[in-house]
Symmetry: C2
Subunit: 189 residues, 2 copies
């Protein structure tokens, strides 16, 4: 299973956000929606071997983690708005520290990066990392940030983790995921 974890530093943890204002009052939820799209969509199918974790760090109830499993998810469409609706629905579900299913293949729990790092061996997607094309055994699980840099607290958690780059220019999270998955496709992984 390939895993992509995206931190949404301002992304709201309230299910009351407006689908008409995801870049604004929902705290750049649009970035996370596009990352979900990049994780799963092929031209006529979904990537069933990908799981996508969204770490929501905005008010009122951070941290929250949403997990979307490519092998289970239903009703996922490529546009930002409908993905936002799935996230919104998940956020209305009361949850504890164990993942709880909201809609098919979409799960939610309390907790953030620290918990995930205890569960998964993660590689950081970072412009200063080694080029993925030069790596013989590409890792399965990647961490990316949204439009903001990792915080000092996050940096401390990840400082010793391996770093990989997707190319010479710093791209948006969703574009980076697309390039990484293209590299997997080429290696038939």
């Amino acid at each position: 299973m390939k895993r992509f974890i995206i931190t949404g530093h301002k992304a709201t943890t309230s299910g009351e956000f407006s689908l008409n204002d995801m870049p604004g009052s929902a705290g750049r939820m649009d970035v996370l929606c596009r990352s979900v799209n990049s994780c799963f969509f092929l031209s006529h199918s979904l990537r069933e071997d990908v799981w996508c974790y969204l770490i929501l760090l905005g008010e009122p109830n951070p941290p929250i983690t949403i997990l979307i499993k490519g092998n289970e998810v239903k009703r996922l469409n490529p546009d930002e708005r409908s993905t936002g609706a799935l996230i919104k629905k998940a956020l209305t579900l009361p949850c504890g520290e164990k993942f709880r299913e909201s809609t098919p293949g979409v799960y939610i729990r309390k907790g953030g990066l620290k918990t995930l790092l205890e569960e998964i061996d993660v590689t950081i997607l970072d412009e200063n990392g080694e080029d993925i094309r030069d790596i013989q055994n590409v890792p399965d699980s990647y961490l990316l940030s949204d439009h903001l840099n990792f915080t000092d607290e996050e940096t401390e958690l990840i400082i010793d983790l391996p770093k990989i780059s997707a190319g010479p220019k710093v791209m948006h999270a969703d574009h980076t995921i697309t390039v990484i998955l293209n590299e997997f496709d080429r290696r038939k992984l």
Copy 2:
């Protein structure tokens, strides 16, 4: 200048469409909005060396071509909705067969693929083409289709044009653009 042309086979040519229903009544306008995003956005800048052409073929007034110039465009944001708003605004502008500027860097004219092919040497992005990584001199200008295949009429226009592939799996148009631009970045083109 790099150019990407995306055909929107059902994309509305009316400026009256709802930004809340771009995948539905606007004829998969969401696909075109994501393609615009992929053409231009880097992490902290725009790709000023890209022009993006959207060919809108839906009712009531097809064909219409919208051109967005990376070296001129203003008020472009990465989310689908705000890009949709720029397209919507352009569609309300009466236009003829010459490009007319709607908002800074966004142009509109009557006409479609046939006219563009008389102006630009185009390569088709096609899963059966030669892998872009194997091509010594990568072309500048590419044609992609939205969620639908090229029509018979379009196929006749492009049948003799060169074909290039972005990888072994068939991807959405926006993801394909991202992979191609990553290849340009790596070659410092």
